[in-house]
């Protein structure tokens, strides 16, 4: 058995673009954990109904108190993976023939959206789950706060999709294909249609509605699958010696 | 006919069909408006005709590759089929 000589790096670290591959892998990991957290543990997806009674809302927190708290505790660690993913996408945007303004705006927009999109809902639910014997009115408020924030904040991501679409349209280096830009426009439409959850407590435009939630989720899943695949191809084609603008 | 004349003819047909729907739409008199299956089916058929004209002529799918023709015809069939079924069921 041969022993590696001191000072020689392992073969895998020499693989081209290994830094980007590591970043890329955080994406599928993140989304699987995201599914575990939001669907199985905390029951935020699909969202419980806005039009149930106070008693039912309190019962919801009693039933799921432990898994909500464990799920969102996990989120505290894994939410950061989304930042890595966004760094990767931003970097690819810097390879485009346009100003890095777009890459910076992309990251900024996701910071703005990530707060009401993931973290605020988490804390609202955790606070409710911590002491389910609170005043029921407060429980209802925390319930509303989480779900209004989770679904209603989707509009914050419009900027992300706008800069991505614009960047791709203007890019002459063909880093990402034009059809992704068009799909990003769908994302903008479905995100805009999430705002009516502030107005409706039932029906397709409520936070559990067929249009505001379900259709938007389907479009998002398709978009994300495409993004993951396209990033894979982009990294594979990227020469490690390529100069990227500052 | 030239392409220009054809385009204008299509536009004229679309506009004429639109004006026809003025007469099919619910009356604006005091009498109560009643649901009417024949009128609605008529309206939907007209909408289908207009949609198909726009796709085939304006969007030039008539001279487009087969996959696009199939996709657009398929969409029209599924959409209007679903609308009619949900209306008459």
């Amino acid at each position: 058995m041969t022993v590696a000589q001191a000072g020689t790096a392992s073969a895998w670290t020499q693989k081209p673009n290994i830094d980007q591959w590591i970043a890329w892998w955080t994406i599928p990991v993140f989304y699987n954990i995201f599914g575990l957290i939001f669907v199985v543990l905390t029951r935020v997806m699909p969202p419980p109904r806005p039009d149930i009674t106070q008693t039912q809302i309190v019962q919801f927190f009693v039933d799921h108190s432990l898994t909500i708290r464990i799920g969102f505790a996990l989120l505290m660690f894994f939410i950061g993976f989304a930042s890595v993913a966004n760094g990767l996408i931003a970097q690819q945007m810097k390879r485009m023939s346009i100003s890095p303004v777009f890459a910076y705006a992309y990251i900024g927009a996701l910071v703005v959206g990530g707060l009401p999109g993931c973290l605020i809902p988490a804390f609202a639910f955790v606070a409710a789950a911590l002491r389910p014997d609170r005043d029921p009115q407060i429980m209802v408020m925390l319930y509303d706060w989480c779900l209004l924030s989770f679904v209603g904040s989707l509009g914050c991501f419009c900027t992300q999709n706008m800069v991505l679409a614009l960047a791709i349209f203007l890019d002459r280096n063909d880093v990402l294909p034009k059809w992704l830009a068009y799909m990003s426009i769908w994302m903008i439409v479905t995100e805009l249609l999430a705002s009516p959850v502030f107005v409706f407590r039932s029906g397709p435009l409520a936070w559990n509605g067929s249009i505001s939630f379900y259709l938007g989720t389907v479009v998002f899943v398709v978009w994300e699958f495409c993004m993951i695949r396209l990033l894979y191809t982009a990294i594979k084609k990227q020469s490690p010696s390529e100069q990227i603008q500052d | 006919m030239t392409a220009a004349a054809r385009t204008t003819a299509v536009w004229a047909a679309l506009s004429a069909i639109t004006v026809v729907s003025w007469f099919l739409a619910p009356a604006r008199h005091a009498e109560p408006v009643v649901a009417s299956t024949p009128i609605t089916v008529g309206v939907l058929v007209l909408a289908l005709i207009k949609s198909r004209l726009i796709i085939q002529e304006f969007m030039e799918v008539r001279t487009a590759p087969l996959w696009l023709k199939l996709a657009t015809e398929g969409w029209l069939v599924v959409l209007f089929g679903a609308i009619v079924v949900s209306y008459v069921w």
């Binding site: 769908w186 249609l193 | 729907s21 009128i39 726009i54 304006f58 008539r62 949900s86």
Partner: protein, 192 residues
């Protein structure tokens, strides 16, 4: 059988207008809007009388005028593509402007229509019919606005680079917007 002028799109060979990327967009938008329409119809089934009664408060005249305006805009845009293919860039540019102006007229009429409805007390949450009315016309209006951006790109192309693909792209998208309105018009204003 088609006979077209020598310099227009050949009828013997298959020609895909614009780009495959744009058609991904158009077909996907058809599916997404189609879902909205089906969801609308299902809701309508559950509250038929409410929908019929509420529909009376819509102005059919405005609906028809808006439809005619968009159909005219599509004519402008379709002719612009043909003229571009014939190399008549200046005329094509003017027609593109014509199409865009029609689009603006549509937006203005829609804004007027909405304010009239709101003044009459029919707001977004008034009832389910008006929820769909504002939602469908609102999302459509967003598409019209995007369409104006596409036409703006066509205009600039016709002034400078004179490539046909962007002009076809804008036109195809615009026709999609026109088509979606045709369906919305039938579902909201006319059918009962």
């Amino acid at each position: 059988m088609t006979t077209t002028s020598a310099t227009s799109a050949p009828s013997a060979t298959r020609h895909l207008p614009a780009t495959k990327d744009l058609w991904v967009f158009v077909l996907g938008d058809f599916v997404i809007f189609g879902s909205y329409f089906v969801i609308f119809m299902v809701s309508r089934r559950q509250e038929r009388d409410l929908f019929i009664e509420s529909q009376r408060h819509l102005s059919l005249n405005i609906g028809v005028v808006n439809t005619l305006v968009l159909l005219a805009s599509s004519w402008f845009v379709a002719r612009a593509v043909q003229l571009t293919r014939d190399g008549e860039f200046d005329r094509a540019r003017k027609l593109t402007v014509g199409g865009g102006l029609c689009g603006l007229v549509f937006i203005v009429i829609k804004a007027y229509e909405w304010s009239a409805k709101i003044a009459q007390g029919h707001t977004f949450p008034s009832n389910n019919f008006f929820m769909y009315y504002y939602m469908l016309t609102g999302v459509h209006l967003f598409h019209v606005a995007i369409g104006l951006v596409f036409l703006g790109v066509s205009y600039v192309e016709l002034r400078n680079r004179r490539r046909i693909a962007p002009v076809e792209t804008g036109a195809t998208y615009w026709h999609m917007v026109d088509l979606l309105w045709v369906v919305i018009f039938a579902l909201l204003y006319v059918m009962r």
